[in-house]
């Protein structure tokens, strides 16, 4: 186990153990160096528990491990407010306490007593509107509790984890391949990005580095996933304002994309297309050419459909100014993906993905990004253009699966990440020989739900479906 260096986390990569008394100094040092703490979770270590902090530092990835002999570590949510849900989850799942994070409001557990988990909102005429977990449309299960005055939303408490399947627990003790098959399937719409993040984490721990073919084949899958998701999401926003022609047009475009994807990768959601240590998808010249041809036909139709939406006054009127998320709030809440870029925060994990093929990529920030529904929609439209261009290049010739090759000595801990259609997803694994001791997945949806609550503050209740659809977050990849 490496020695603990006092407040020097920023200059190290790998893993380090830090006592509870020095934890906050270490975290502060990581932040001061320009690094970030991207995830926090609990793990069993020896007889007790420890808290783990996944840090991205200028020197590389660092897993800080803080033993909690008395079941308690200091909170860091004053230093890194975006980790509030992470601490609540670790407390619920492992019983780990975070001193200073009071009161604890359960996140995974659902106490019957409203006061135990909902935020007290006081004032004249404040009332509550409870929605879910079963909704009116075909959507995932989750509970929303709106605190409103009239129809104006004052505060929103989001209660997820109705779909908690304990997938991280299921994966523990099995092989890395099984972990990818279980945890990687937490969510259909992000299965490629999640799979890549887990595969990267496993390969980082095993000291493997992807060859050119593997980088290309995974990048291809990730962009195909972005393509059908962004088409879906723009359609969902149209549905959110009741614009049936827009919703139907983009649903049809998504269907065409998914048919091309199934033809190329064997599955409409690319299940099973990402493996650890090697590629799992191959296409000969003819198959790649067919997919390229289908996407070349799709591209002008996507552009035309988007142009039509720009001229739809009723959609523009509803989308502009609705559910605005200020940029400083996006930074404070750790918002990722198109939702962050729509506020002007130019962050995209693809820019920092040497394990994939994204040289020269620039985050797509819509001009005059206002952080509202219109901007989130536009961010996706911009990315669709880039993604279609990238796919055209990636499909220029046969697709070989590729391999990950030894490049560094193996270690127990590995960190992986990928930019899903919703933003940066981070995975940390701890391996024990061939077996997985702990795997933790923090998806872009997990990162962004608090931003949904923030964005609908001050909105009217009937705008919530629209604001919610403009983020289009998954519940499945939060609940796991």
């Amino acid at each position: 186990m490496p020695e603990v260096a006092r407040a020097a986390g920023a200059a190290r990569a790998g893993q380090a153990v830090v006592g509870p008394d020095l934890l906050r100094d270490e975290v502060a040092a990581v932040l001061a160096s320009g690094g970030a703490v991207q995830a926090l979770f609990a793990a069993a270590a020896g007889d007790g528990l420890e808290a783990r902090y996944v840090c991205a530092t200028p020197a590389g990835d660092l897993v800080l491990r803080c033993p909690a002999p008395r079941g308690e570590v200091p909170t860091i949510i004053d230093l890194a407010p975006h980790l509030a849900w992470d601490e609540r989850e670790a407390r619920d799942l492992f019983g780990l306490r975070f001193a200073g994070h009071e009161p604890h409001r359960p996140l995974v557990h659902h106490p019957g007593d409203l006061a135990a988990w909902a935020t007290p909102v006081l004032g004249d005429d404040v009332h509550q509107v409870a929605v879910g977990p079963v909704h009116a449309g075909v959507i995932e299960s989750g509970h929303f509790r709106f605190h409103t005055v009239g129809e104006r939303i004052v505060h929103l408490d989001i209660q997820l984890f109705h779909k908690h399947r304990g997938l991280e627990r299921v994966a523990e003790g099995g092989s890395a391949e099984e972990a990818l098959a279980t945890v990687g399937r937490a969510c259909a719409a992000c299965s490629v990005a999640t799979g890549i993040a887990i595969a990267h984490a496993v390969e980082a721990a095993r000291g493997l580095w992807p060859d050119d073919d593997l980088r290309r084949s995974r990048t291809l899958l990730a962009e195909l996933e972005r393509l059908y998701n962004h088409l879906h999401d723009i359609g969902a926003i149209c549905a959110g304002v009741g614009l049936a022609p827009g919703a139907m047009a983009f649903a049809a475009l998504k269907e065409r994309a998914q048919r091309a994807i199934a033809d190329l990768a064997g599955h409409r959601f690319m299940f099973g297309a990402v493996a650890a240590g090697a590629g799992a998808v191959a296409a000969d010249r003819a198959a790649a050419g067919r997919a390229r041809g289908a996407l070349r036909e799709l591209a002008p139709d996507v552009a035309a459909a988007w142009r039509s939406l720009l001229f739809d006054a009723s959609l523009r009127d509803r989308a502009r100014g609705a559910g605005a998320l200020p940029a400083d709030e996006a930074r404070r809440l750790g918002t990722v993906g198109p939702a962050a870029r729509a506020t002007g925060v130019a962050t995209d994990a693809r820019e920092r993905s040497p394990r994939l093929r994204y040289a020269g990529l620039r985050p797509a920030v819509p001009p005059g990004a206002e952080g509202d529904v219109a901007a989130r929609m536009e961010a996706r439209a911009l990315e669709l253009t880039d993604t279609l261009a990238m796919l055209d290049e990636l499909l220029d010739g046969p697709v070989a699966p590729g391999h990950a090759l030894p490049s560094a000595p193996p270690s127990a801990h590995g960190v992986g990440r990928a930019e899903s259609p919703r933003g940066e997803t981070v995975c940390a694994v701890e391996l024990d020989g061939g077996a997985v001791r702990r795997v933790h997945l923090r998806t872009a949806s997990f990162a962004n739900w608090p931003a949904v609550a923030r964005a609908c503050r001050g909105a009217i209740l009937p705008d919530f479906p629209l604001v919610n659809k403009s983020f289009e977050l998954c519940y499945a990849c939060v609940d796991r």
Binding site: G246, A252, E255
Partner: protein
């Protein structure tokens, strides 16, 4: 908007599903712990390319109006009560359809310590639609015969 509708016409042309008998079937969907894949495909089945409403099959907002409860996922502990309540809210005759391998007990989450593992252990299941996720065609093929069955039941 006419530009948008051009795509729909093309999608309609491609759809080669048989026409169903007259009648209607109202579905209420409950996600009991899915990965959202089954939801995407159910959405596609009611979307422009497959358009289940052509057959008289549509999604209704409330279980009180539903003929069929369409359930996805391995029935997690967190969803069990809500699922049972939705079932109780339905009037007779009612049917339950297990949509996807998870609800059938053979999906990737069958080992979940937090879930019942299959819908059959929670509610009586009348219709089974296999697949991970079932394709929109499979969903249509699983539901269209219910139009007849409902006519018989009514």
């Amino acid at each position: 908007m006419f530009l948008l509708l051009r795509d729909l016409r093309r999608a309609r042309r491609d759809a080669a599903l048989p026409r169903g008998p007259r009648g209607a079937l109202q579905l209420r969907h409950v996600d009991a712990g899915s990965c959202n894949g089954c939801e995407h495909e159910l959405g596609a089945a009611s979307g422009p390319a497959y358009d289940l409403s052509r057959f008289g099959i549509s999604i209704t907002a409330s279980p009180r109006h539903a003929d069929v409860l369409l359930v996805t996922g391995p029935v997690t502990g967190g969803m069990r009560v809500a699922l049972e309540r939705a079932y109780e809210a339905m009037s007779e005759p009612r049917l339950v359809a297990a949509l996807g391998d998870c609800a059938l007990g053979c999906g990737p989450f069958r080992r979940s310590p937090e879930a019942a593992g299959r819908l059959e252990d929670v509610l009586p299941v009348d219709v089974r639609i296999a697949g991970c996720p079932p394709s929109p065609d499979a969903i249509a093929a699983g539901l269209i015969p219910l139009l007849d069955r409902r006519a018989g039941a009514g």
